[in-house]
Structures are given as C-alpha cells and as structure tokens.
C-alpha cells in the first residue's frame, strides 16, 4: 500500500475552529484526554463511595455523602449503591479508559508516529468526538431521572435491565448511550485502521511502526468488528424496553413467551471479551515502546511482540464462553472455552518474556514514564496469572461472581490500563503541551498509586477468596463474611490512598500546563518520528513528510558515536 502526502491545512484562527470544532487530530486527542480525565474523576469518586459503604456500612462518608444523599443523612441507600457500581463500571470502561487510551493516545500518536499530517478523514474524527460527547451526556442524564440511573451492573443482564428489573428511564438512557458511543467508536476505528494502512510515511513497513501503533491498530480492528455486536444487543434491549417485545424475557415474565435472557449474555460477551483486549492492547503497545526507550536498547523481539498482539487479537474472539461457565453450558463447551482461553497464555507469556528481555542488561533510566511502565508489568502479570483460576472451570465455579473476579479484572483492566495511561501522559506531555511534568511529584504519584492500587485489588482478591460476593450492599449481614470486615476496611483505606494520590497528578498536570515552561524538542532522547519535530507539535506536524530508514527502537547501538539513539529518518548505523 502506498502512502500519500496530505496538503497542509491553513492554521485555524478562531477560538471555535481551534479548540472546539477542530479538525486537528492533536486537538481532538486532547479533547478526548480532558473528556476521559473528567469521567475518570467521576468514576473514581463513585468507587470511593462504594468502598466507603462496604467498609463502614451505615456511616456517612464525610463531606461527599452529605452533599449527595441528604435524605438518608449521608448514607448511601441500597438502590443508589446499585446505581453507583453500575455507573462506576460503565463510566470507567466506556467513558474513561476508552477515551484516554484509544481516543486520546490513538488520535494523538497515530499521525505523529507514522509520519502523517493528520488522520485520513479529519472531519470524521471530529464527529467521532462530538458523538462521544452526546453519548456521555445521555449517560449522565440518567442520574437525574426520577428513578435514577441504570442499576443492573455494567453488564446489564436481563432481566435486571428489562422493564421488570429497572422500570426507570435511566436504564433506557444507559442503553442508548452505549449504542451512540458505539457509533462514535466505529467512526474512530474506521479512521485509525485506514490511516495506519494508507498514511504511513514512505519507507515505513508495518514492522517499522512503533508498537504503540500496533496496539492501537489491533484495538481498532476489534472495535470495528465487535462494537456492532453489542450495538445489536442494545438495539434489541431498547426494543424490549420501549416497544414491548420480549427478546430477553422468558417464561411467566413474558406474557407471550419465547424470549431468552441468556441470549443477551452471549451477545454481551461476544463483544465483551474482545472489549477487554480493546482496552488493554493500546496500553501494551505504549508499555512495549516505553520499556525499550528507557532501557536504552532495542525492544527485545519486537516482531514477536507485534505478532503476539495479532494472535491475542484473533484468540480473544473465540473465548467469550469463560464468562458464562455458570449458565448451565454443556460441559463440552465449557472445556472447549477453557482450553481456548488457556491458549491465550502462550502469546501473553511470549509478550512477558519480551518485556523482561527488553529490560535485561539495559541501562535503565528510572523516569516517571518508565516507573509506570514497569508497574504495568507487575500488575498485568498478577492480573493475568489470576485469570488462569477463572479460566479453569473447576475453580471458576467457586470463584464466579466473587470479589476475586473483581480483583482480577481490576488488575488487568483498571490497574494496568491506568498505569499505562499515566505512563503515556507523562511521556507525551512535551509533544502534547510543550511542557514536562514535575519528575519528583510524578514519582511520588507513582509510588502512592502503586501501593494504593495493590492494596485495593490484592485485598479484593483475598476477600473474594474468603467468599465475599460482588454487588452486595452490606455483605456483613451474613455471619460467615463478618470476619472479612478488617480486609474491607484495609481495602477502603488503600482506595483512599490511591484516590488521594491522583490529586497529586491533577495538580502536577495542571500546574505544568499553566506554568508553561518550554522543553526542548526531544527531552527523552528517543528516535520515533514524533520527536523529530518541535514541541509542542505544529498544526501541520511535518513540514516535509519524513522518509523512514530504520526501526523505532534503534537505541544503544555501539556503532553510534555522539549519542545512544538514532532517529527513524536516519540510515541505520552499522559498525
């Protein structure tokens, strides 16, 4: 596939064309970043409210509790508790991780790292963001409806999500919001895939792309294929809720009979399992690159890493049944899904070896992006390994729907994606805003978050192993769970530590933007294309379209004389 040169757009002059309805992928990326950070704060606050309720049932959370729940004297009531965990999951997955990792880094990095002036369809890109805004408003609108927001869990299984389980408008708005967000994600995915295929700078083969781009690319392919599956599920759910069909109602609950609640679970997880890889693949890509950049040596087995991403992408589409082991599946099917799921550990293990191989004998620079990347190795390792117990049918039957599951998926989807996202923000800050964030406070932020999140999620796994089910309003009404009160208190204190650490990040982030102390063009001394241009990137990115002559990880080459890295635009130096 050949690339082509886009013409240079005129510099936008008005405030609206520059910051609101901008066609510039960098501005859209930043818009996604602000959008994601806003929802991250909302979702984080919800998490703290959930944790408070679990550790101190019947006690009001200081300040926030009294503001939000004056009727019950600051205590979270049971129905609001269900809304909180539902909205926490939905917001974090669809409105925080997706916009930050895919929306912000995807938009910002793809053209810069492949040497293009913009996305191939800039106006589609802009529409994608504004459709996402509409979707976010729909979701938040649910909070102010009479019966409150959706409360059927982020999975919204029928019959909880049908009119029987949640009669309010909130659930309908939730479903519509997810459908609209799907349209936005699809627009983004089409743009990303096409851009990566047609706009790579001359000379850049697929294996010369940074692994970040590989991650975003695979994510977009999964998005384009599987978001519509959830879309169809949402459509039928809306039909059930609004027009009185009974696709997801069975037996006596459906007056005319014939529906099947399990159908939604199938549809949801056919989408849902690829979705967890949609969330983590960009993070993996970013981490694979950063480890190489800061270990000052080429990424170990970069091609294998890329091919592992591809094989994980393919495998992720055929394992969804492991979410449904307890739905009376045929044992033949459960074993098939178990085996297929276990197969994913092979590419994942190669991945890990490559990460460790990259670190091996590197001259590591412990900058804050690097700390966050190494953090990802640790938390994703833990998350991945605990996944084996959930993929195995025999252990899953015991662990299903316990806090062990919650701990597991938070390690994989929340902790590692969050850390990878922070790594990316610290790393690309110079290119995005032309400034560096404070290194010292970046490291403090890392260590506090890292301690906090391990306390939270490790604690959750312990609680789950002890038999505590998820989504319980007050687990301690059950006598056998009362011994878990100390663990839960510990988790809540850890979560407060983790939440508090984010204040450091927000202050550091905003302070460095406001202070606006300019940095040089290439403060991290790496050779990918985005570092060949000024910081912050000009609106046209590249004055001349670069010609790529070597791979993205040419660091620590002994033949190099005055510096230990070379730009992708330079001929590979041979000794």
């Amino acid at each position: 596939m050949a690339s082509f040169e886009q013409h240079i757009h005129d510099k936008p002059t008005t405030f609206i064309s520059k910051y609101i309805f901008s066609f510039d992928h960098k501005v859209i990326g930043k818009q996604y970043l602000w959008y994601g950070i806003f929802f991250l704060l909302v979702g984080g606050l919800m998490a703290l409210l959930i944790r408070w309720t679990l550790a101190f049932p019947g006690h009001a959370m200081p300040i926030v509790g009294h503001l939000l729940f004056p009727a019950t004297n600051g205590v979270v009531p049971p129905d609001s508790y269900a809304m909180l965990f539902t909205m926490h999951g939905t917001i974090m997955i669809f409105f925080a991780i997706t916009p930050i990792l895919i929306g912000a880094f995807g938009n910002f990095c793809i053209p810069l790292m492949i040497g293009a002036r913009d996305m191939v369809f800039p106006s589609l890109n802009m529409m994608s963001f504004w459709v996402a805004v509409v979707s976010g408003l729909l979701l938040l609108a649910g909070l102010i409806t009479p019966l409150g927001a959706a409360a059927g869990g982020w999975t919204s299984y029928p019959t909880l999500s049908t009119l029987l389980g949640s009669p309010g408008v909130g659930q309908t708005l939730w479903t519509m919001s997810i459908f609209v967000l799907g349209i936005s994600s699809l627009m983004g995915a089409v743009n990303y895939i096409t851009t990566i295929i047609v706009l790579r700078a001359p000379g850049m083969g697929y294996f010369d792309m940074p692994l970040t781009i590989w991650g975003v690319w695979m994510t977009s392919i999964l998005n384009a294929i599987f978001i519509p599956v959830l879309g169809a599920g949402c459509l039928l759910l809306i039909f059930d809720r609004v027009f009185g069909t009974t696709f997801f109602l069975a037996g006596a609950t459906a007056t005319q009979g014939g529906g099947d609640p399990l159908l939604f679970q199938h549809v949801f997880w056919i989408f849902g399992h690829p979705e967890v890889y949609i969330l983590i693949l960009p993070g993996w890509g970013i981490v694979s690159d950063l480890l190489s950049f800061f270990a000052r040596k080429p990424a170990f087995g970069a091609k294998a890493t890329a091919m592992c991403m591809v094989s994980i992408t393919v495998l992720s589409t055929v394992v969804y049944g492991h979410h449904m082991f307890t739905t009376q599946m045929s044992p033949l099917l459960t074993q098939t899904f178990m085996t297929l799921t276990m197969t994913i550990s092979i590419p994942s293990a190669i991945f890990f070896v490559n990460w460790l191989g990259t670190l091996w004998k590197g001259s590591i620079r412990f900058t804050s992006p690097m700390l966050f990347s190494i953090g990802v190795i640790f938390v994703f390792g833990l998350g991945g390994l605990t996944g084996l117990y959930l993929a195995t049918v025999t252990t899953d039957l015991y662990l299903h729907d316990t806090y062990f599951v919650v701990g597991h998926f938070h390690y994989t989807m929340a902790a590692s994606v969050l850390l990878a996202g922070f790594a990316g923000i610290y790393f690309w800050m110079p290119k995005m805003f032309g400034v560096l964030m404070n290194e010292f406070w970046g490291k403090v932020h890392f260590w506090l978050s890292f301690l906090g999140l391990n306390g939270v999620f490790m604690g959750m796994m312990l609680a789950g192993y002890g038999g505590m089910h998820r989504r319980l309003y007050d687990p301690f009404v059950y006598e056998f769970l009362q011994k878990l009160i100390p663990v839960n208190t510990f988790i809540t204190y850890s979560s407060l530590l983790m939440g508090g650490a984010q204040v450091i990040f927000v202050i550091n982030f905003i302070y460095s933007i406001v202070k606006n102390k300019k940095v040089e063009d290439n403060p991290w001394e790496v050779g990918t294309l985005e570092w060949t241009i000024p910081s912050p990137a000009p609106h046209y990115n590249f004055k001349e379209i670069p010609v790529v002559k070597c791979g993205p990880h040419e660091l620590g080459n002994p033949a190099l004389k005055d510096r230990d890295f070379q730009y992708q635009t330079e001929e590979l130096v041979r000794g």
Binding site: A2, F4, I193, A232, G257
Partner: protein, 190 residues
C-alpha cells in the same frame, strides 16, 4: 486503481479514492456484524422453538416481501449500470426503485397489522419487525445518500470526490440489497 508503490508518495487525490474504498469496506464489515448478531439471535430462537412460527402463529404471506426483493434487485442492477455508463437515467431509475422498496415495506407493515401481528405479539412478529425496522433505517440513510449523489451529478466540479461518493454509496446500496435477500430467504421463505 492505485498501483502498489511502497515508499513512493502518490498524488493525494488519487490515493484518496483508494483510502475511502478501504474505509467503506471496514464500515460494511461493521454493519454486517450488526446484522449477523441479529441473525444469530434469530437462529437461536428458531432452533429452540418446538415449531416455527411459535405460539400457533401462521407464516405470513410472502407477497409484499417478494415485491420488495424484486424492487431492490432491480434498483441495485440499475446502480451497477449507472456506475458503468454514468448515465443519469439509470441513477434516477435506481433511486425510484429504492423509494418503491420503502413503500413496499410500509405496505408489509400495514399488512402485518391487519393480520393482527404487532411488534409485541410474540417473538415471531417481534423478529420480523425488528429486522425490517433496522434494515429500513439503513435504507432511509441510503436513500438520502442516493439523493446526495443525484445532487452531486449535476454539479461535478470535484471529480475525485465525486468518484469516492459514487463508489461508497454503491457499496452501501448493494450491501443493503444483500442483507435484504438474506432476510427474505430466512425470515419469509424458509
């Protein structure tokens, strides 16, 4: 067509045709997943039901669906002719048959109502309505796009852009025809 020329910078406009074709293909893969999911639901309901149609319902008369099938086939055919010969007449006939398709769908829904099949009367009727509504929503979008093509044909100042629009709308229109034929065979005939 753009030839394979790795490492060479092509003229922007020429390559845009290629890029848009690729993007439209991805969009259609997405749309087909939407319909594939609905078909999956349909087959699950169908194989799990002891008899089909369930609940003592009668199979509905295939008159209007057959009319729809014929019109959408003719319409697609004329679009192909338009793509080949670039004659306005073919485009008008194609669009006219698109509108007739929509009318036949309205008649189908009217017929269903007179037979007492409403959206909420059991899974059989629900499936027919949700499939045809989802498909019709796409048809309406496609008709708007066909109108846009007609609008553009009369003002062909940007040849490349025009080429992109014709190709993309064509792919979408043929795709909807294909989906309809699958629906016709599975929902109405067998």
């Amino acid at each position: 067509m753009v030839p394979e020329m790795a490492g060479e910078i092509l003229v922007e406009k020429e390559a845009r045709v290629h890029a848009s074709g690729l993007a439209m293909t991805i969009v259609l893969i997405s749309f087909s997943m939407l319909f594939a999911t609905m078909f999956m639901g349909y087959f699950l309901f169908r194989v799990n039901a002891p008899v089909w149609p369930p609940l003592g319902m009668e199979k509905i008369n295939v008159f209007w669906p057959t009319i729809s099938t014929v019109t959408i086939l003719i319409s697609s055919l004329f679009y192909i002719l338009f793509e080949k010969k670039r004659t306005l007449g073919h485009l008008y006939i194609c669009s006219a048959f698109g509108v007739i398709f929509m009318i036949s769908q309205l008649n189908l829904w009217g017929f269903l109502k007179t037979e007492g099949y409403y959206l909420s009367t059991g899974i059989y009727a629900s499936l027919i309505y949700s499939f045809t509504w989802t498909h019709a929503a796409h048809i309406i979008l496609a008709l708007v796009l066909l109108g846009y093509v007609i609008f553009k044909v009369n003002r062909p100042h940007d040849k490349v852009r025009f080429e992109i629009i014709i190709n993309s709308v064509g792919k979408f229109w043929h795709f909807l025809g294909l989906v309809w034929i699958l629906m016709y065979l599975t929902l109405f005939i067998f």
